[in-house]
Amino acid sequence: MSRFLVKSELPYCKGCGHHLIVRNTVKALEAIGMEPLDVVLVTDIGCHGIVDGNFATHTVHGLHGRSVALAAGIAMGLPPEKKVIVYIGDGGATIGLQHILEAARMNVDITVVLHNNMLYGMTGGQPSGLTPTGFRTVLTPQGYPLPHHDIPRLVLDAGAPFAARVIAPGDFADVLRQALEVEGFSLVEVLGICVSYGVKMNPDLRLKELARQAGYEPGVWTGPTRPAFRPARRETTSLLETLAVSQRYSSPLEGRLTLILGGSAGEGVQQAAELLAQAAMSAGLYATKKGSYPVTVGVGFSVAEVVLSRTPIFYHGVSQPDAVIITSADGLANQRERIHPMKGGILWLDESLPVPETGAEVRVRDFRGRAGARNAGLYALLTFLRETGVVPPEAFVKTVQESPLGKHVDLAAL
């Protein structure tokens, strides 16, 4: 018995094509001189998947169709001298086709052995995406009506450096050896017969003839070679290093102030609000800032909620804002429901906008005209600070200057 096996009697039906695949795999592994513990065999769900117990290699038995992705993860996590082999059936290749294409596109270092017996053997002989036209299955006794996927061609298209198709029976250990020697993705499709369901439904079946009619041509194909995908370990630096906000100003705020900045997406609303929160911190306040916007980030409303407080903030929602600052029609439309019931507080409104019904004091100002749409939010917040003094306006100007925005905006000049 080969050193790659712990048990030579395989768990398949007598005459099943899968026997040949195991024998040829073992022969190929012996030919390239690997040791069993240098090999990881990843199996899918299907008759082929119960063979794990026969192998002396590492074995991993996963989910239906996902073996290629699982094997890709293993290969990405192991040093290159380890060999990762996938056993998958035509059913697994159908449900997991994307994993095969992605592994080929990435050129992950795995060898996929596709057991194509043209139907789902384990579940009773249903057709798969690799069942050829006219092939009879329990669900298609008149013959399968659709064409099959050509997996070697698909993986070559996706960038695989090696793909092959062999027709069992026969000795195809050398094709498997070539595949195993590829550094990167390789796939060998082995066309075989399920004696239990394939032969039962197609008693006059001649595999070679069927393969020829179906266009399942045997062959070995190569694509351009390129390095196998291996994620390198990087040195990275802490995410916390450049963040500190130092206190340089003071604020007269005693309690808490809640503020809404409403404008249009793409006009820097979120960034302006974030800078206000930082400026407030530089004046010794606690601050929170959260954003609300539709899923499209470049169109529609963009609303920021800011809470400034002398004491720690546990709840950062804003239900009845003290200040609402609206710079665009999108912002007004989105905040109308909140502005309408306001009984106090102040609404700052760009002069281009209609004054909505509200119990808040309304202050109409020219934000867009003076600062332009892109900086209307920043300028509106500066106006708010100049008129309320909640945070010294110079704290905000300084924060903006020191931010990446500082190079592009001269807030002090506005």
Partner: protein, 368 residues
């Protein structure tokens, strides 16, 4: 207290940094709001960061990396998590440590990607086919964003299991002033691989509940991992006694070894206990402070271990004449988890959908 290292930060940044400091070395991501910010930070910070083509692949890669000895992390939201469920079951059965951060948003289905929610707790309860428990820890504030990832990762390693770290949109995306000086140093998770004599069996836990771990590819021991029902050595079995005992062990280890994390802030004379978790903790804290300032004694239980449900929660709640459970979903999922669909008459819920629960809503229910 005066801050000594004040920053404006979101929870995502702290989570990503904490994971790496705790020894997580691989992040596998697929973009989804509101978890993409974690993906962004993780891509800058993790030693290995891989963008996956979909969430099924993400979890499969993580399982592969974990099998090879790495400690992988991902973050997602319901639509992505739904795709991961079968693979989470696989990793659970194979006993592969990993961390899945689930950032809740408003459902059902795609729901509203940019609105927060606490709607996935009942999904997690029963996620593993057969009802086997999955450890679920829940973040309640920025400090938890730092403190819980290392605990979750240590749990994943110690129990050889996927762990879910539950959070929600406003927790990981809202920026808050925060004093980094409050954060404690993080030490890397303690992890050893079995190096003893063979034969090694990947699921032989000996006298304990968790089998020692050897990565696949090991040069000394053969490793067999299996997602199907299997014996001690990872060989597929139908329903043999040994295999069923192995499956039952999965439940026993999670039930007995998941850390029990909560904060109980009790006040003498309090008749009501507020129970909460996740983003609603902030509103509950504020409600409790306000009530106490007004002379209404009230206690607060912040649950961090959500699954398996620590029985101590029942003990604590049982000590109070009244309990108010506050959570951001329609049904009262934490309440249902604790008491089923028929709540005891002295237990009330405060719920909301599509918005955060306000402190005044909790305070009103306490004084009602």
């Amino acid at each position: 207290m005066h801050p000594t290292h004040p920053v404006l930060t979101d929870g995502s940044r702290l989570i990503a940094e904490a994971c790496v400091r705790a020894g997580a070395d691989a992040y596998v991501g697929y973009p989804i709001t509101p978890a993409s910010l974690i993906f962004f930070y993780a891509s800058r910070r993790f030693p290995i960061a891989l963008p996956a083509p979909d969430e099924i692949t993400a979890l499969q890669w993580m399982a592969g990396l974990s099998a090879a000895g790495h400690l992988p992390v991902t973050a997602t939201s319901f639509p992505g998590f739904a795709l991961m469920v079968e693979s989470v079951n696989m990793a659970y059965m194979m006993e592969l440590p990993m961390l899945v951060i689930l950032v809740q948003r408003l459902g059902p289905a795609t729901g509203t990607a940019t609105a927060g929610a606490q709607g996935d707790l009942l999904l997690l309860n029963g996620l593993i086919s057969g009802g086997y428990p999955l450890p679920v820890l829940c973040i309640s504030d920025l400090e938890d964003c730092w403190r819980l990832p290392p605990i979750a990762l240590q749990t994943a390693v110690d129990l050889r299991t996927p762990v879910v770290l539950l959070t929600s949109k406003e927790m990981v995306m809202t920026q808050e002033s925060f004093d980094l000086a409050r954060l404690e140093e993080i030490s890397p998770v303690r992890r050893t691989f079995y190096e003893g004599p063979g034969p090694y069996c990947a699921y032989d836990a000996g006298d304990g509940l968790v089998p020692p771990f050897v990565p696949v590819g090991d040069g000394r021991h053969q490793v067999r991992l299996n997602a199907s029902t299997h014996d001690r050595c990872g060989i597929i079995r139908h329903t043999s006694d040994e295999a069923m005992a192995n499956t039952r062990r999965l439940e026993a280890k999670v039930e007995t070894m998941t850390p029990i994390l909560y904060t109980l802030d009790e006040q003498e004379g309090a008749e009501t206990l507020v129970v909460t978790c996740d983003i609603t903790t902030g509103a509950a804290r504020e409600a409790v402070e306000t009530l106490r300032a007004e002379g209404v004694p009230v206690s607060l239980l912040v649950a961090r271990t959500l699954l398996p449900v620590p029985t101590v929660y029942h003990d604590i709640i049982g000590r109070y004449p009244r309990a108010v459970i506050a959570e951001e979903n329609h049904q009262g999922q934490l309440a249902r988890l604790l008491f089923g669909r028929r709540l005891p008459p002295n237990v009330r819920t405060v719920t909301a959908v599509g918005r955060m629960i306000r402190p005044d809503e909790i305070a009103r229910e306490v004084t009602r």
